[in-house]
């Protein structure tokens, strides 16, 4: 097996699993393989995808961010309330919402790096903080009626005879494209992987460990907020409970995509595949009708577990070959 193929093996596995899953579902359920369904994979999972991009960067560096779901919920209700109850124009509201996410992520990164606190503890506290703040803003759902906002949510496109609202998918493609470029072609992206591989070595090599880690958490906070906003575009309203449990979906997406949970190895393309797999499972559960919605969470958890175990096996196999 040549090196390139071996390095891409996790992504290839994921791609094969996705194709098999989708093909099986298409054979099992009538009308599963339709333009509407395929496009909804990208549209209804737009927010998860956007959040997963930031999470991928944090996991590259060997960190973890449990606050993304709550930050998404916060941005979701914050922007809706600012536009609807305080008369802000949606554009500044969106910018402020994302900026709060970035600032929030950066401050968590600072505590993790400079105060040497465990990432899960800081971001778990961040999760409760952001969720509490979301409840503070409004406990009831807020429907946004601003004309510019309605214009945004109502952008239509025709795909093979079906009308879709592609805005979430467009944002998702832009963000994951940017994430791909950052991870593959910038010094920052390589630094992330170096830190995830071995933080001590990265420090000794003279890499800006602190700045890189904090930037990763800041980006993750920003994408989490943006992900929450994407959901506002889908539903046309803000809800403080949005994003509960989304952190696991995001982590699962990244890990299913072949990124090593301990950091140092991974690919943004895998995250795209991860989003597609999680999305396909949700579609299957929706299509089947007999399965309880609660199964989504259970299956996502199981899938995450299976992929972590696969990674262990794969890693052990490659290490043996090297030794």
């Amino acid at each position: 097996m040549n090196t390139l193929l071996r390095n891409r093996l996790p992504q290839l596995t994921t791609a094969v699993i996705f194709l098999l899953l989708f093909a099986a579902a298409s054979l099992r359920y009538d009308y599963f393989f339709s333009t509407r369904n395929v496009s909804s994979l990208f549209i209804s999972n737009g927010s998860l995808g956007v959040i997963a991009v930031g999470m991928t960067l944090v996991i590259f560096a060997g960190g973890i961010d449990l606050s993304v779901g709550a930050v998404a919920g916060f941005a979701n209700i914050f922007v809706a309330t600012m536009v609807q109850a305080h008369g802000w124009h949606p554009i500044p509201a969106i910018f402020v919402g994302v900026a709060i996410g970035v600032a929030f992520g950066a401050s968590m990164g600072t505590m993790i790096h400079y105060f040497k606190q465990p990432a899960f503890l800081v971001t778990l506290a961040g999760m409760f903080f952001a969720r509490g703040c979301a409840f503070w803003i409004s406990e009831s759902s807020v429907t946004v009626k601003h004309p510019f906002f309605l214009y945004l949510t109502d952008i239509k496109a025709e795909l093979g005879g079906t009308i879709v609202h592609p805005l979430p998918a467009i944002i998702f493609f832009i963000v994951i494209g940017a994430g791909y470029l950052i991870a593959q072609f910038t010094r920052f992206g390589r630094n992330l992987l170096a830190i995830g591989g071995n933080e001590q070595s990265a420090l000794l090599m003279g890499l800006p460990v602190g700045a890189t880690k904090i930037t990763a958490y800041a980006i993750c906070g920003g994408t989490a907020a943006l992900g929450g906003l994407v959901n506002t575009f889908i539903t046309g309203s803000g809800n403080c409970t949005y994003g509960t449990g989304l952190e696991l979906d995001a982590i699962a997406t990244v890990v299913i995509g072949g990124t090593l949970l301990t950091g140092g190895r991974g690919h943004m393309f895998g995250t795209l595949l991860g989003v597609l797999i999680v999305g396909t499972i949700q579609l299957i559960i929706a299509f089947d009708g007999t399965l309880n919605a609660a199964w989504t969470r259970i299956i996502t958890g199981m899938l995450l577990l299976v992929f972590i175990l696969l990674q262990r096996l794969l890693l052990r196999a490659t290490q043996k070959r090297v030794a």
Binding site: F120, L124, F128, G132, W136, L261, A294, W295, L305
Partner: protein, 335 residues
């Protein structure tokens, strides 16, 4: 107070939650008149302090299990979900006509132990990081619990079950007594046998312990099972106190409270030692803080905000960086 005693009480980690409790007590003494009054009604003692002890019982039990897990350098994020699963299982059993209390309790504890075993196997033998292994159950559990009850809340009508959460012995509520007995039992078990030492050793340096001949994997698995059992007891106490199981909301946000109590109580997050008295006092302080916030008018949904701020502040205070800064400031002030 002589110098040597002042040094020794400063060394005990249990002092900080105690100081917090006293401070909160003083605040309540000023702001709410009836805080310390305990009256007798229908042969039971009632009062805010009794309420704190009663409502704080599930949290106290969770913190007990969490102390052991953290002492081995691990973490268990799934305790809140395990509470919900156990509550849902018990309530569903009783709703389907089971009237045998021992059977219900056995199944509940069994479910909790099973959840702990799953975590333990994932962490000690499959070597998945504790955060992620327990995160799986934390989120999947919120799918499992509604699945058991078909998505509904379930009323519990078995009086002998509800006695745990709402009954009284000699005028005192049962739940805190269960808590105290459990704390004593676990404390005696760990301090009067080598198990406690093994747990601390495994948390302090796993590799060294393994080379010294300790079955670290088995010890780690054991603490997660104990933690699952504690979560089960907490689930029983929580559901029996209101006679209702709510699979989506039971035990929500409780994992942070438990971790908080352990950290504030002086058990280091990277493992190696534990302190039950500290945990107990810190969990009690946290409940008092929550009740105080409700008195002051903070809505229950917003209560995680000040708590999250507090836990971060406490952790930052304990961090090396802050100590160095404070030390430098202190030296400058002396000079």
């Amino acid at each position: 107070m002589s110098k040597s005693t002042s040094w020794s009480w400063r060394k005990s980690p249990a002092i900080w939650p105690l100081v917090g409790l006293v401070l909160l007590g003083l605040i309540n003494l000023v702001y709410s008149k009836n805080f310390f009054s305990i009256t007798q009604r229908d042969g039971h003692y009632v009062g805010t302090i009794i309420d704190i002890l009663k409502n704080g019982s599930p949290g106290l039990i969770l913190s007990l299990g969490m102390t052991l897990v953290i002492a081995t350098g691990g973490i268990d994020l799934s305790v809140g979900s395990v509470m919900a699963i156990v509550g849902a299982a018990a309530a569903t059993m009783m709703a389907h006509g089971t009237t045998s209390l021992p059977l219900v309790l056995a199944v509940s504890l069994g479910v909790g132990a099973l959840c702990g075993l799953v975590n333990g196997v994932l962490i000690s033998w499959l070597r998945i990081q504790p955060i992620v292994a327990t995160l799986i159950l934390m989120v999947a559990g919120r799918g499992i619990a509604p699945l058991i009850t078909d998505g509904n809340q379930v009323l519990i009508k078995l009086d002998s079950y509800n006695y745990f959460g709402s009954g009284f012995i000699l005028g005192l509520p049962v739940a805190p007594l269960v808590v105290i007995v459990l704390y004593l039992v676990v404390w005696l078990w760990l301090r009067r046998s080598a198990t406690g030492l093994f747990i601390e050793a495994a948390g302090d340096n796993e590799t060294a312990s393994r080379f010294a001949g300790l079955a670290t994997a088995r010890i780690k698995c054991l603490v997660y099972i104990v933690c699952g059992l504690c979560a089960a007891v907490a689930g029983i106490l929580a559901t029996s106190s209101i006679g209702n199981s709510d699979p989506m909301n039971d035990g929500q946000y409780m994992e942070l409270d438990a971790i908080f109590a352990v950290v504030v109580g002086g058990t280091a997050l990277n493992g190696g030692r534990f302190n039950f008295l500290g945990t107990f006092l810190a969990a009690l302080m946290l409940k008092t803080l929550t009740i105080t916030m409700y008195f002051v008018g903070v809505r229950p949904e917003v209560a995680p905000v000040p708590k999250a701020v507090l836990i971060i502040v406490v952790c930052l205070m304990q961090s090396e960086t802050t100590r160095r800064w404070l030390g430098r400031l202190g030296r400058r002030a002396q000079a």
